[in-house]
């Protein structure tokens, strides 16, 4: 059990008549990322709240860094860092004051907390804004400070609950870099997200939740494979004629037809031969995307 940073066994939480989470089994090794994927209300945040000792489970058990979350919550809190869905810091303190406060609360000396604060502000590109109140920060800056707050004291298990929600693509890419660094340093990371691209990019394994239950689990590649075979996508003006000949799915707006290609390159060649007299603009052979996997699974 101790070789896992996080392990759960039939973990569940019931609110009145509703199962917010049911029979969740997780195993997360140190230095890896688990993506918890699901729509709003799927149970992702409930799982994170239980694992971070903010909510008691009503069924099953969970261990974080070898400590039972229900029986030894104080020991669990010594091992974790958490960033919630919102940038959960004090709006009325400056960026620097927020990090200092968290450092001091986690028993860093004043000098160590100050040094660590300046180091993190620099690393996350917030040094110039360090003396401004958090309330004046942009969404991207708040998220970066939120992640920095998780790193004030290094913990072996880090929980990030939708860390890039609401960020523009550039800010999201910045965050992904910072998150990847965290894992390189050896932390186990549980990441909840609604962004499939994010899970695909960051997670070693993905658990797909729907209605509080696990509906699929595996590596991103495994989940994509599970949805089905490879497909050939052809873009051309005569897409209706191509669809008639191949009995294919059509996306008229993209002028694209898609056909199953269980034999991969052989199928691609056969299909191109069949459309030889039409002016094919683009042809590709692709695995299903994680988006397709997600929608097929939930």
């Amino acid at each position: 059990m101790n070789s896992y940073a996080v392990r759960t066994d039939a973990l569940g939480r019931r609110f009145s008549e509703t199962d917010a989470l049911r029979d969740l089994d997780l195993e997360v090794a140190p230095g890896t990322v688990l993506g918890l994927l699901g729509h709003n209300g799927a149970g992702k945040t409930t799982a994170v709240r239980i694992l971070t000792t903010l909510l008691e489970p009503t069924a099953g058990r969970a261990e974080v860094a070898g400590h039972d979350v229900a029986r030894a919550p104080a020991a669990v809190r010594e091992q974790i860092a958490v960033a919630g869905q919102d940038a959960s810091l004090d709006e009325r303190l400056t960026g620097r004051e927020n990090l200092m406060l968290l450092g001091r609360l986690q028993r860093l000396s004043k000098a160590d907390a100050a040094a660590r604060t300046e180091q993190l502000l620099e690393r996350f590109g917030l040094a110039d804004a360090a003396g401004r109140l958090l309330g004046t920060y942009s969404g991207g800056m708040r998220r970066r400070l939120d992640l920095a707050a998780c790193l004030v004291v290094r913990r072996p298990v880090v929980f990030l609950d939708e860390p890039t929600t609401g960020l523009d693509p550039a800010a999201r890419a910045d965050m992904w870099g910072a998150i990847a660094d965290l894992v390189t340093e050896g932390a186990a990371l549980i990441l909840t997200t609604q962004y499939l691209e994010e899970a695909d990019r960051l997670a070693d394994r993905i658990v797909v939740l729907s209605g509080g239950r696990t509906v699929a689990e595996g590596t991103p590649a495994e989940l994509k494979r599970r949805v089905g075979e490879r497909r050939v996508h052809i873009t051309l003006d005569a897409f209706e004629e191509a669809a008639r000949r191949l009995d294919a799915e059509v996306d008229p707006r993209a002028r694209r037809v898609s056909v199953a290609a269980p034999n991969g390159p052989d199928d691609l060649r056969r299909i191109l031969d069949a459309l030889d007299d039409l002016d094919v603009e683009e042809a590709s052979l692709a695995q299903p995307t994680l988006d397709e996997a997600f929608f097929a699974l939930t």
Binding site: T53, L54, R104
Partner: protein
Amino acid sequence: MNTVLEIRLLAGRSLRHIPRIPEKLFGGLLMPIVFVLLFAYVFGSAIAVPGGGDYHDYLVSGIFAQSMIGTIPGISVGVASDIRSGLMDRLRALPIARASVIAGRTIAELVELCAGLVVVVICGLIVGWAPHGTILETLAAFALLIVTAFGVTWVGVWIGLMVRDPDGADGIALSIIFPLMFLSGIFVPVEGLPDGLRQVAEWNPLTALATACRELFGSPTGDVPDVWPLQHPVLASLAWAALLTAIFVPLSVRRYQRL
């Protein structure tokens, strides 16, 4: 030792908010000044203290009691804001004593309240109020106010924890404190109130506290009604403070654990 440091850090965090939140500054420090000026110079000329005595003396000693409950909206909004922003969850997931979070906030409120008392003292001295009792009685009055404030602060904590929405918490807190303030003997003697309302005012904890302050500061008390809390206002005020603490500390702690 760690817990003491945690409480000190978290209290310091809340105190840093004071100059950064103008409405908090107004509620805690300026509102008592507004009431002193309003009642001393606008309504005061039409109010006579039964049994004689200076109305400014009567009023300012009552305003001390009023300033005790003026902090309820501030603390309930603060607690609700911390929950809404997710900061409360972040603090609860840290390896610190969970009680430190609420205790830090409560201590900060008491410090802020003491600053408010200083403001009322200065304002009172300017309008002609002065303590006429012994030094011991004067200190006892301030001690009584702080003990009461401790109990009252927990009411604010509980409202913030229950409502979890800053606007809602503010609305509920104000709807509690305004009737309590005006249906009491803080500003006017309760004898003039109609039946029904008079009995409510006589048993209002703020009337007992205002009367206790007047006794201890040596200010005019008016004709004190023949009801137990006003015949024994110091004891009654202590009892109210103990009751509030006994009810709202466990309720708040219980609620906090289940957030």
